[in-house]
């Protein structure tokens, strides 16, 4: 392809006439005059925000749409450690039932108002009451007291080890109280962040433009004159945007990495989801077979994780048997190898459970899953005698279907939060949204209670114990943790954000 390139171009130019001439100089061949002054960061996002109201916001990929406008109370640095932002200091009460925040003084919203304790209280109250997607993150917060203009106290009904970390995300976005009741609260966000939304250069579903907040209190966080985020759902289209210089960053999948490298795109990796089966019905309500621990263990042994990791995740990741990631305090390294591929053992376990002749397991699948996964799982479970009956679900309904209690098990991919409690709260506690059948055993109850009763250091050990219990009892059948690729163009540099599939806005900088 190298030699005739010039000829192609000449031909094409001749053939396609003048209209191209005016638009030929793309972003790629124009060196930025002064990167820090007028640099533009263009990101191709895989998601599109439903609303720019913080109360309606979500974690993960969505943060890139909110971080430019809103400061969080606490900032998660790229390691996932907490750093001061609007709050300069935070203290957890001894019994874990209160969190006191000391606020930075002199910070102003872009509408001119001050960031005060009242404003923070207003935001927290509103976030909890609005019933947004993450309202549960403040579930433990009973009330918020304004102690003085620079201090707020969050009173908790029960200890919540994940709360400070949560305040580094959506529940910690602070918007101007003047905007609370504005009709445009969803579309014209007003915060104290490093950038402001330029509504005139914004088209929902196609482009969101943020311009530099000239008066921002921390100049170090403002590295671009403008940030443009384009929601592009199709990975190929995102990749084309980055390859052709129309975008500087994008979230990707393992299967594109090789092509990206050969196209000269920089590939960054961050520890990502754990993938595998979630054995939702460990209580055996829907599928009595799954109620038996031997069966769940057999499923863990039956899957050739290495083969799937190699083929589907292209080897970018590490096999595991636990749902907690290395950066969380619940992580127990040895549990990664708790279940290794062993067909005979799986068969033996099934026999032990009285299911020597196997059984049928109905699971949902959708086009969002890698096409190789469903057949591979079916094939491998068939080898131990379990027949998988895949039911095709339209991709948008896939996750709701999993949570609807229709299926005893499902293929899932979950993030591995830095704070272990977040994972517990999402998957293990009795009313956790992903504990679909509200499974609970005396052991889990005790361990969870112990975790909440312990201080930070002791909690780690208890969480590890809970982890071990979940692995031993095979509540899940994790296969591996993937490395999540993120592609950037030559125009920017980035530091990946631990615990988040895409880097935070603060992590980007113009290339020198």
């Amino acid at each position: 392809m190298k030699a005739p390139k010039r000829a192609y171009r000449v031909l094409a130019l001749a053939a396609t006439a003048a209209i191209f001439l005016s638009g030929c100089g793309g972003a790629n061949d124009k060196p930025a005059a002064n990167p820090s002054e007028d640099a533009v960061l263009t990101l191709a996002s895989g998601v599109e925000p439903q609303s720019l109201d913080p109360a309606m916001s979500r974690e993960a990929q969505f943060v890139q749409y909110f971080q430019p406008v809103f400061d969080t109370l606490i900032r998660r640095d790229s390691n996932g450690d907490l750093q001061p932002m609007l709050a300069t200091k935070w203290d957890i009460a001894k019994d874990g039932k209160a969190l006191t925040l000391t606020l930075r003084e002199g910070v102003k919203f872009t509408d001119g108002g001050d960031v005060t304790a009242e404003a923070v209280k207003g935001n927290l109250d509103r976030f909890k009451a609005a019933g947004g997607p993450l309202a549960g993150a403040l579930g433990a917060v009973e009330s918020v007291d304004v102690l003085d203009p620079a201090t707020v106290k969050l009173n908790l009904s029960t200890p919540d080890p994940a709360l400070p970390y949560a305040l580094g995300g959506p529940s910690g976005y602070i918007q101007s109280p003047a905007n609370f009741d504005a009709a445009t609260v969803d579309t014209q966000p007003v915060g104290s962040g490093p950038y402001e939304l330029d509504r005139s250069a914004t088209t929902p579903g196609s482009q969101y433009t943020f311009v530099k907040n000239e008066d921002y209190w921390d100049k170090d966080l403002v590295k671009f004159a403008k940030i443009v985020i384009k929601p592009i759902k199709d990975e190929n289209a995102r990749f084309n945007a980055v390859r052709s210089g129309q975008a500087d960053g994008m979230i990707a999948t393992a299967k594109t990495v090789k092509a990206a490298e050969s196209a000269g795109v920089t590939v960054k990796m961050v520890p990502g989801d754990w993938q595998g089966l979630t054995l939702l019905d460990r209580a055996g309500k829907l599928s009595p077979e799954l109620g038996k621990v031997e069966v769940r263990q057999a499923i863990n042994y039956a899957i050739d994780k290495d083969a799937i990791l190699k083929n589907v995740a292209q080897g970018f990741g590490k096999t595991t048997s636990q749902v907690f990631g290395p950066s969380s305090s619940a992580f127990v390294e040895s549990l990664d190898g708790a279940y290794s591929y062993d067909v005979d053992k799986a068969k033996a376990l099934l026999k032990e459970a009285g299911l020597a002749n196997g059984f049928t397991l109905k699971m949902p699948t959708s086009s969002d899953m890698d096409p190789a996964l469903a057949p591979a799982i079916k094939d491998q479970l068939a080898k131990v005698g379990i027949t998988v009956d895949w039911v095709d679900i339209p991709s948008a309904q896939y996750q709701p279907e999993q949570q609807s209690g229709t299926y005893a098990a499902a293929f899932t991919a979950f993030g591995q939060p830095v704070v272990a409690w977040s994972a517990v709260n999402s998957m293990v506690t009795e009313n956790a949204p992903w504990n679909v059948f509200h499974s609970s055993t005396p052991e889990t109850k005790t361990l969870i209670a112990d975790v909440l009763a312990s201080d930070e250091d002791a909690a780690g050990a208890k969480l590890a114990e809970l982890n071990k219990y979940l692995v031993d009892n095979a509540w899940f059948a994790p296969w591996y943790r993937i490395d999540q690729p993120y592609f950037i163009s030559k125009n920017v540099t980035v530091t990946v954000q631990n615990g988040q599939p895409v880097p935070s806005i603060y992590n980007f900088a113009p290339a020198k």
Binding site: N236, K258, N311, S366, S367, P371, A376, D392
Partner: protein, 616 residues
């Protein structure tokens, strides 16, 4: 997916074009036969999938993923380690089966409603039409996705729904043909024969729409396959069943690590699409491009038989008297001073066995102020001779021999531009059927003014004045009104006057009139003949009057030439020829006339009759 289908594309011009069995038509077109063969082969392979493949299309071995072709896996394996060949073969069951289902549903609905709506018309027609407008206006993709969201992923369900959405295409196609067929005389004949409605619809109407439906279905098949595999490709289908679309979807996911996966499902889709399109197109061409016997509207049927020779000759009516008699001496005489002189003219058309001559050495000449009648039955080549003189033979036809001279200018070999400048000014043409010879889309005035400006270089104003004067001259009572009318707003007699005005407007030396009164009522005919006679005198033109009517010849012509099977058999002045016909054919023609015959007696000797016409 973005292909729209229009019934008219697939429909032949008329149901009466179907004068040949469907099977033989397919067989007669090699492209159609080959593409049908390819389709049949693929369908057979897909049906026999279990015999052809050694692997279950959905059994995977992830350890064997993305292998290249091997004796075991002929086309390699996919990203889950499934055998690509068996997935292609089994996938065809879903893709082609789904398409077939959609087509069957669309046909079942569309053909039924089209049949009844087209046959009965009225309120039934308009209500079905409204529903079909609704279905066309509904965005197909959204409906399919909504159905999928409502009732789950199921290729058979969604293809059934898609069939319903496609039904309007068949409905419109069938409705249009049936409402045409309904007025065909053979349907009337069937009704008069006492056939029941179901029998008429089944035996007479359905037969006429069979070929167009098949053509349309072939092209609609391409659309269905496109939509179905497109949806699967986008991940909007059922991923648990193998189809060519889901294979493409898998290929897209693995685009950068195994681009080859695109290949086989792509080829399968391409081959089927190409076969369908080529089948449809060549079947349609077989319908359209055959030598066509023109369809006549009921009102113009009078001249229909004569029109046969206006077309690439079909089997000519067998002459009542077997040929063989040599032409009467003087048959090829070209009078001195002829302003139009044709010598040894031959006109040929390509046929299966090379060029076939339909005009076979015709010589004739006309002097200024003289009217020559060119008489003959259908297939005699008289119209072909007229067109050859004008240089306006239909596509395929050409002068294969002889010379034509008009006003000293030798025509064959003349450049197109030079010929064009002769037309209208040196030689002009009055056609047979007035209505079909005026462009229905333009006002009459425009059609008169346009050539005046072009040929005489008149200004718009002068051309209009001249056109109005001409209309007045040909006896049109209100020239301005006619000038501003569209052709369908005036009567046939008036239209013929307009055409005569157009022909003589540039004062041509020679006027070729091809059966100018055949389509007219007899009273109008008399008036038009009077007009022609006057104009000819006034402008001192040489006129060739092509006709089959000896009465017209007797009324108008000075001399007459009798044509038979592409040759002139006798030529003389009218007085001599009518009084003393020499050639047996001329005699037979005159004898067949009804003048001076005793009513209710036989016209011909019965003995030789069955023999001749039996010679098919």
């Amino acid at each position: 997916m973005t292909q729209a289908l229009e019934p008219a594309t697939a429909a032949p011009k008329s149901a009466s074009a179907q004068r040949q069995g469907l099977g033989s038509r397919i067989a007669s077109s090699p492209m159609a036969a080959i593409s049908l063969g390819v389709l049949a082969f693929i369908v057979l392979a897909v049906i026999l999938a279990p015999l052809l493949t050694r692997f279950d299309p959905s059994v995977s071995d992830i350890g064997q993923a993305l292998l290249g072709p091997s004796p075991e896996h002929w086309l390699g394996t996919d990203s889950a380690g499934r055998d690509v060949f068996s997935r292609i073969v089994y996938g065809g069951r879903i893709t082609l089966g789904g398409a077939a289902l959609a087509l069957i549903v669309a046909m079942a609905i569309g053909v039924t409603t089209g049949l009844f709506a087209g046959y009965f018309g009225g309120a039934l027609d308009s209500s079905v039409d409204w529903v079909s407008n609704l279905l066309i206006a509904l965005p197909n993709i959204m409906i399919l996705l909504a159905v999928r969201a409502a009732w789950g992923s199921n290729v058979w369900l969604s293809m059934t729904v898609f069939g319903v959405l496609m039904a309007p295409g068949f409905h419109r196609l069938v409705r249009a043909i049936v409402s045409g067929v309904r007025n065909e005389l053979y349907v009337d004949a069937a009704r008069v024969s006492g056939l029941s409605l179901t029998r008429i619809l089944g035996r007479h109407v359905l037969v006429a729409i069979r070929a167009p439906i098949i053509i349309y279905a072939a092209l609609a098949g391409v659309v269905v396959i496109g939509v179905q595999s497109g949806l699967d490709f986008l991940g909007l289908g059922d991923v648990t069943v193998p189809s060519w679309g889901t294979m493409l979807n898998e290929a897209l996911v693995n685009l950068y690590i195994a681009p080859g996966l695109m290949l086989w499902p792509g080829i399968a889709l391409g081959v089927v699409n190409a076969a369908l399109i080529i089948f449809g197109n060549s079947l349609r061409d077989a319908l359209e491009d055959r030598p066509r016997v023109r369809r006549r509207s009921t009102s113009s049927a009078k001249q229909s038989a004569k029109k046969n020779d206006a077309v690439t000759p079909a089997a000519p009516e067998p002459a009542a008297f077997a040929g063989g008699q040599s032409p009467v001496p003087g048959f090829d005489e070209v009078p001195d001073g002829s302003v139009l002189a044709v010598r040894g003219l031959r006109v040929g058309y390509p046929s299966a066995d090379g060029i076939k001559d339909v005009v076979n050495g015709v010589s004739l000449g006309v002097r200024r102020g003289e009217i020559l009648g060119l008489v003959g039955e259908s297939g005699s080549g008289k119209t072909q001779t007229a067109w050859a003189i004008l240089g306006l033979l239909p596509s395929g036809g050409r002068v294969t021999g002889g010379t034509i001279e008009i006003a000293g200018q030798s025509l064959p070999g003349l450049s197109k531009g030079a010929m064009r400048s002769m037309l209208g000014k040196k030689v002009a043409y009055i056609p047979q059927e007035p209505m079909s010879n005026l462009d229905p889309s333009f006002k009459i005035g425009f059609q008169l003014v346009e050539p005046l400006r072009k040929q005489l270089g008149l200004s718009a104003k002068d051309a209009k004045a001249k056109a109005l004067a001409m209309l007045d001259r040909v006896g049109i009572a209100d020239p301005q009104r006619t000038f501003d009318s569209y052709p369908h707003q005036i009567s046939g007699g008036m239209a013929q006057r307009v055409l005569i005005a157009g022909a003589v407007a540039c004062d041509p030396d020679v006027l070729i009139a091809d059966e100018p009164t055949t389509a007219l009522d007899v009273t109008v005919q008399a008036e038009v003949l009077d007009l022609l006679r006057e104009l000819q005198k006034e402008k001192d033109m040489a006129v060739v009057m092509v006709t089959h009517n000896f009465g017209v010849v007797a009324d108008l012509c000075d001399r007459v030439a009798v044509m038979k099977l592409g040759q002139i058999v006798e030529q003389n002045t009218v007085e001599v020829l009518f009084a003393n016909p020499q050639h047996p054919y001329t005699r037979m023609l005159l004898e067949a006339g009804l003048e001076d015959k005793t009513p209710r007696t036989r016209l011909l000797r019965p003995v030789d009759e069955p023999l001749q016409e039996a010679a098919l």
